[in-house]
C-alpha cells in the first residue's frame, strides 16, 4: 500500500519518532509503514490521518498487489 506519510511529516516538520509517539507505536513501525513493508490497521491509519488533519485516503493508496492478498 502506497502512502504519503513522509510528505505529510515534512509539511508538519515532524520526525518519525515524534509521529510514532503521537500514534502510540514504535519508530520502527512508522519506518516500516513508510517503506510500504507493513499494512497498518484501520485504527492506526485513522490516528495518523487525524494527526495530519487530513483524510485516510489522501494519505494511503491501494496498489494492484493489495487486491491479490
Amino acid at each position: 500500500m502506497k502512502n504519503k506519510i513522509k510528505i505529510e511529516r515534512a509539511k508538519k516538520d515532524m520526525t518519525q519518532a515524534e509521529l510514532a509517539q503521537l500514534v502510540q507505536v514504535t519508530r520502527q513501525t512508522i519506518n516500516a509503514i513508510e517503506a510500504a513493508k507493513y499494512n497498518l490497521s484501520t485504527a492506526l491509519a485513522l490516528k495518523i490521518a487525524s494527526i495530519f488533519e487530513t483524510k485516510v485516503d489522501e494519505i494511503f493508496e491501494l496498489e494492484e498487489k493489495d487486491w491479490l492478498e
Binding site: 518519525q16 507505536v25 520502527q28 513501525t29 516500516a32 513508510e34 513493508k37 507493513y38
Partner: protein, 158 residues
C-alpha cells in the same frame, strides 16, 4: 494478538532466569541420566501405568521428581519469555508474534510427523519428551530473530 493476553514486560527477565539454568539441567539429565536421591519422594499419581505391569488410579507411589521439576521449570521459563510483552509493544510486534507462533507450530508438527515415520522405540520416546518444549523454544528463536531483523532493517530514520 491482543496485548491484554500477554504478561508484563518484567516477566521476560524472570523467564530467562528460570529457563536457562533449567534447560542446562535438563540437557545434563538427558546426557547422564542421573537421578539425585534428594528428589526421591512419594507422589500422588492420578494414573500410574507400569511398564508391562498393572494400571493404578489415584494412588501414592514412590518417585524421583527431578525430571518433573526440571520439565516444569523449562516450561514456565519458556512460557514467561514467549508471552511477555516487549518493552515497546505495538501492532507490528503483535503481527510478528502471531506469525512466529504459527511458524513454530508448523515446525513442531513437521518434526513430530518426521519422527513418527523415521524414529522408533526409545528414540521416539525421547522425541516426545523434547516435543513438550520445542514449540515454545522454536517460537522464542523465531520471534526474537524476526524482531532483530525488523529493528536492523528499520534502524535509520529516512
Amino acid at each position: 494478538m491482543k496485548s491484554s493476553y500477554l504478561l508484563p514486560y518484567r516477566f521476560k527477565c524472570v523467564g530467562w532466569i528460570i529457563f536457562l539454568p533449567s534447560l542446562i539441567m535438563g540437557l545434563l539429565f538427558f546426557i547422564f541420566n542421573k537421578e539425585l536421591p534428594i528428589f526421591d519422594c512419594k507422589v500422588l499419581a492420578i494414573s500410574d501405568l507400569e511398564a508391562f505391569g498393572k494400571h493404578h488410579f489415584l494412588t501414592v507411589i514412590p518417585n524421583n521428581i527431578q525430571d518433573e521439576i526440571i520439565s516444569i521449570l523449562i516450561i514456565i521459563g519458556a512460557f514467561f519469555i514467549s508471552f511477555s510483552k516487549e518493552k515497546s509493544e505495538d501492532e507490528y510486534i503483535s503481527k510478528l508474534r502471531l506469525e512466529s507462533l504459527i511458524w513454530a507450530t508448523y515446525i513442531n508438527y513437521f518434526i513430530l510427523v518426521f519422527s513418527i515415520i523415521f524414529l522408533y522405540e526409545f528414540s521416539f520416546y525421547w522425541i516426545l519428551i523434547f516435543n513438550m518444549f520445542t514449540i515454545l523454544i522454536v517460537f522464542i528463536i523465531k520471534f526474537n530473530w524476526a524482531l532483530w531483523k525488523f529493528k536492523k532493517n528499520t534502524q535509520n530514520e529516512e
